[in-house]
Amino acid sequence: MSPRVARVFTLYQKEWMRIKRNPAALMAVGLIILMAFLVNIENKARKQEKIQESQPCALVFSTEDSFIKHLKSLPESQKIRFIQTEQLVISSTLNYPANIRCVAEIYPEASVEQVMHRRIKFRMVGESPQLQQLSRWVIASFANFNAKVKLDFSISAMQNNTPTKTLGNIDLSTSGSKAIVGAMLLFSAQYFLCFALFISFSAHERERGILQALALTATSAGELLLSKILFHLSLSWVASMIIMQTLSPYNIWAFPANLLANGVVILSSLGLISVAAIITSLNRTQTSASLVGFCYLMLMGVIFALAPKFIAFNAIRTFMFEGHAILLFTVILDNFSKPNMVKAGGALIFLLWQPVLLLFIASIIWKKHGWHNP
């Protein structure tokens, strides 16, 4: 191993040792991974719930009713959701579960003028094609079950007023929304590991003069920066892969083997590290560097919020790699869905050169100001 490589490796090991002694610094990333896990659970639960909610529904008053038992024994009953209620008088304003499009209210048998009757009321929202299937199946089943009992059925409208469950304005049941939330979580983890942690560690070293002491050994300023880049890149890559796999846990090698996913993670991390290196180099104290880092985040938020409405902000956003990285993360997590692919191509072109340019600028500033005592 050449002395230069050995020195970079020693400094890289030193960074790991520091984080090992101060694991609480990674707590925020742990929380982000936990959030990814929760998003995944919510996504699955919502999908299942939606499938169930969209099934035709049979409202019954007793599961011991022989006709209900007969219906349940039929193979088609798998596609019907049976809901039991004790409320004998049902009005059209009954608060049905969300997303139910049609329902068959099957009342118990009753004697009317010494003739046995069974009343079935079909309700629907708008024009539901499910209604035809449901009514045919219920009526035909009843005819087969007991032809002696008179069947009264009617059709009326249903008020379905339960709102769909949402997180803000995002419905987590779709893969697209899950991808957007996932991309935000990924970027947050990268921001923390490559930006906030870089500033925290390096500005502290710089303010105390440790970087200068290191640079006065045989180590060069470039080697110092390289070891830091490798450390923060490693952390960011590991965290990003864990978050991606947590969001899509079906294939364990889906993301580590995905060239584009790796490329975007590395490039966006490099971009964030570069900005952090510039901020660290130009600030005298850890406090001011952290403050500027926070302001950068706020500024980024303002630009992204105003970009859709103002051309100037939109132009600035074009030259911010963060937006392109988030878009590409969304596309990757959404399994390359078509509507985003054209935009993603443009974003990739920007992401290929912007972080590299920033890294070049950062290395120049770092060599001039970054390593020595302010």
């Binding site: 020195r7 020693t10 040792m17 520091r18 105390r208 440790i210 002491a213 045989a218 060069s220 005592n373």
Partner: protein
Amino acid sequence: MITIENLTVKFDNFTAVNQLNLHVKRGELFGFLGPNGAGKTTTIRVLNGALKPNAGCVRISGFDIAQQLQAIKTIVGYVCDTENHYEELTGRENLTLFAKLYGVPSDTVATWLARLQLTEAADVRVRGYSKGMKKKLLIARELLHQPQLIFFDEPTANLDAHSIALVRKLMRDLVAEGATVFLTTHDMEEVEAICDRVAILAKGRLLECDTPTAFITRHAERFCDVQYDQNGVTYRQSFHLDLDADRQALAEIVLKEHCVRVHSREFKFEDVFKKLTGEIYT
């Protein structure tokens, strides 16, 4: 070992070091003194390569600092005035890190820990060290690679009497082993006790450079303090022995009065320093 020619360092309109010329010989303990803001630390920063001068030339062991900084780094050690360690790491881990960066064997770490009496605390995190221990760890760190030239910036500040003696002995031992020590301190007693030669700097300019003894000989002012009784009242008077009138007055008192106490005042290096720098600042 060190040759400084016409060194000038400016911060905007303020001249921190002005046309400094200095030559430090190999194997000497050189004291670099001056009041606060005289330009000592700025000069050391230039000598370390941490600061680029506005003008002048600096050579260390024949290497030009502007052109051959990488070669100089391996032969120089810098014990700065602030303790800059990784506080979350232990003393041994801190030294091992620097040993690896200097490319020296890891057993050197144990040797220096023992030499600075830090073996017992070697595996304690630096966060738990006292200021004095941190200073000693810093000294050990900068001596790991056996540098030919060591800059000590107030090495005995915050140290107890035993540690001060240890560090002073260490500096003398380093010189005996052939290293050159460049010492900056405000402890004039220390300078007088251990320095071979001393340079005094004020307002960025070199005032004088010589041995401490030569300084004292050249600038000593002889005073005599007398205490005598006259009609039951005790008087005290000081006489400058280099002035004829004072000498005559002293002789008269000694002859005529009942002297209780007569003693000459010792002129120390600190008095030389105050005299020289005081002239500049008043």
